[in-house]
Amino acid sequence: MRKRLAFLAATAAAIFVVAAPALAQKQGGTLRISHRDNPPSASIHEESTISVVQPFMAVFNNLVVFDPKEKVNSPDHIVPDLAESWAWNDAKTELTFKLRHGVKWHDGKPFTSADVKCTFDALSGDEESKSQIIRKNPRKVWYIHLKEVTTKGDDEVTFHLDKPQPSFLSILAGGYSPVYACHVPDRTMRSKPIGTGPFKVVDFKRNESIKLVKNPDYWKKGRPYLDAIDWKIVPNRSTRLLGFQSGEFDMTFDSDVTFPLLKDIKAQKADAVCEGRPTNVNSNILINRDAPPFDNPQIRKAMVLAIDNKAFNQILSEGHDLEGESMLPPPAGVWGMPKEMLETMPGHSGDVEKSRAEAAKIMEGLGYGPNKMLKIKVATRNIAIYRDPAVILIDQLKKIYIEGELEPIDTTIWYGKISRKDYQVGMNLTGVGIDDPDVNFYENFYSTSSRNYTGYKNPEIDALINQQSAELDIEKRKKIVWEIEKKLVDDAARPVIGHNVANTCWDAKVKGLVLQVNSIYNGWRFEDVWLDK
């Protein structure tokens, strides 16, 4: 009896301890956040920028989602969202979801399996569904193995894949994979989208603001805590940060605070909470391998050998960026190659001078030298975060007899120039939506991807990408992933300079915010965020 009483007391105490933080959370208030630019539209499926995902993810739900309480997005940290449960068939080619009952879209219409079907039919390329809900489809290649989506009644949906794809669940869990409403036309989704999420769009004024209010009928009872979220579009970074310092904003835009600026913020607003985290956006070099002089693999090899990643890191981010190759390196990244392997890659070894001597020898063998420099143009978008590394690259290439000239390109014609192959070398940034090899490799290096804008084609790499995609054993899969990374380095596909780390700051009264460390594109549902005031 005494034992039973003690057990009951311990249970009660445990419940109290667990429940205590929940009791402390306060309802109400408006979270005010600065936004860095004008989002091209509000339709997450049509865009490829954090400018859209961060404000509008809170309007939607996915079938499943990366656990918002966890810092690392990984297949082990996926929790139900619009789906209550899921199950794979034995062959791992069919993924069936049981859907939540009683969920309503913001316009009051019921959410059903038909919405899931039409969303993913559209994304996987079905033209009829696509014409209804989206105009552009930048991530079609994510669904390369999706053959068909079938429904069983209103509450069950099955994804049929042409081969096992363990990453498919992760793909569905990212911020770029919300479920859209079939009955809402694409134009509405771009201007005032309708979702099932914790917040409804009240107004999206171009160049001005985005106003979201609490969805009182949200299926997750007790959420969200906030009454509203006000995004103010402030293109000038100095004004944005001054607004944060003066209390006009409760939070900065994601990764808006560089390390030098962090000192200013801390000096002006000592109680600000600032967190530096990897963004899973990497700086990399595009090399036009289809035209002279870089159609010569020897010159490509020399160029890769000449790069000193540590110097880039020191100059650009005071040493905070992470060294890695195509995948985000551990511990923040789940799939990147281990440190000891990375150190064998060009640009990452301690002895840069040795690599450069080898590079110089290659160049001399090709007839170049101090009196006969190879003249090239280094093109990049005319934005500081692109231009700055390009300038450093030009400086480093001088050491191997390559004389670069900076060619700043207006953003509006940048991608067109790259796709026409009208460049020699380009400095580029690549954001990875989910820290997953399928997402990164299929999107950026697979020969048929519409986002492979350098037109990189390598049948061996395509085969390896497909092989790792179907591998169920994580350790075996990692080894294939690292092999792909190494081959991409050897082939100078897109030499990586570094993985960016940047800071996001918020006022001390903002609680419940968890920044995820291996992608900036996830974790913006804001349903657990509350204001302590």
Binding site: P40, E47, K136, R206, P235, L242, S246, G247, Q268, Y415
Partner: protein, 315 residues
């Protein structure tokens, strides 16, 4: 006078027609269109997607047809649809006009209120410490870039008042307008005030040396009467011209100030629309600016008649 007005009006119409052709053609000479940008912004390399969007927006039609559609619509008050927001261009532009108009109006008011009296004082007290001080002030106004001055003002506001004026929603009432727009208006108007100050000073110095001013003094007129009734009125003609031109060309200053102070006016909107090649917005806004410039020139000419009875326009 009537004949002159008709001629001026017809000239205005002709000028605006020429402007419309120039705007339309120049905009299409710039590389890239909205279809390129929409598709490129999503990081997609797919010519078929671009072609489909261009077709949907009518960008694959002959340029003459596109021009005809725009001008016909404009004549009927239909400005078309904005490409980016997919809303009527009028609905996008109209709410922003009063914001920029208020800001520009306050800036010009500030410039005139500062520039004219300081210019007169500088001329009347030529080569005194006050003159030197005001000349330094006017030189500063001409040499400080608006974005730098704007940021400095914002930093000072954070430092001293702990807050900055962030435009949140449309201000209601005069006081609210002043609270939100006074600082940016001063930043924009400072440069214009410097120009007006320097011109008023040189114009006043020239007039103060005229015989009729000496005559007025010899007749025992007071300093104030000589300076303001006799000299200033005659010195104002070139100043009015500059005020008119400054008012018309204020858009350039507004672009920077609206960006730094985050004011959702037409100037910042225009830059964004140009970046996105949002033709309906750019065409209509630039036409609007052209109309303002042409009208300001017309009003300045009319002001000559009011200020100087000797000015007559021949029929």
């Amino acid at each position: 006078m009537g004949g002159y007005l008709v001629r001026r009006f017809l000239l205005m119409v002709l000028t605006l027609f020429g402007m419309s052709v120039l705007i339309f053609v120049m905009l299409r000479m710039v590389p890239g269109n909205i279809a390129d940008i929409l598709v490129d912004a999503a990081g997609i390399v797919d010519p078929k997607e671009k072609a489909r969007i261009a077709h949907d927006l009518g960008l694959d039609q002959p340029i003459l047809v596109q021009y005809g559609q725009w001008i016909t619509g404009l004549a009927h008050g239909d400005l078309g649809y904005a490409y980016v927001s997919e809303r009527p261009a009028l609905d996008e532009i109209a709410p922003r006009i009063p914001i920029s108009a208020k800001l520009a109006g306050m800036a010009i008011l500030f410039a005139v209120m500062l520039g004219v009296p300081f210019g007169v004082a500088s001329a009347v007290r030529q080569n005194t410490w006050l003159d030197y001080l005001l000349r330094v002030l006017s030189l500063s106004g001409l040499s400080f870039p608006s974005f730098w001055l704007g940021l400095l003002v914002l930093m000072a506001a954070v430092q001293w008042f702990g807050q900055i004026p962030i435009y949140d929603s449309e201000p209601h009432g005069f006081l609210e307008d002043v609270r939100l727009l006074a600082l940016p208006a001063m930043v924009v108007g400072f440069r214009s005030s410097a120009l007006i100050m320097r011109l008023t000073r040189s114009s006043m110095l020239e007039v103060l040396r005229q015989d009729y001013v000496r005559t007025a003094r010899s007749k025992g007129a007071s300093n104030a009467s000589v300076n303001y009734d006799h000299a200033l009125r005659n010195a104002l003609l070139p100043v009015v011209t500059v005020i008119g031109i400054e008012a018309a060309f204020l858009v350039g200053g507004l672009i920077v100030t609206e960006t730094v102070f985050n004011i959702p006016g037409v100037a910042r909107f225009l830059v964004e629309a140009i970046l996105w090649r949002d033709y309906p917005i750019v065409q209509n806004l630039v036409m609007l600016i052209a109309i303002v410039v042409v009208s300001m020139n017309f009003l300045v000419d009319m002001a000559y008649v009011a200020l100087d009875p000797r000015v007559k326009f021949a029929d």
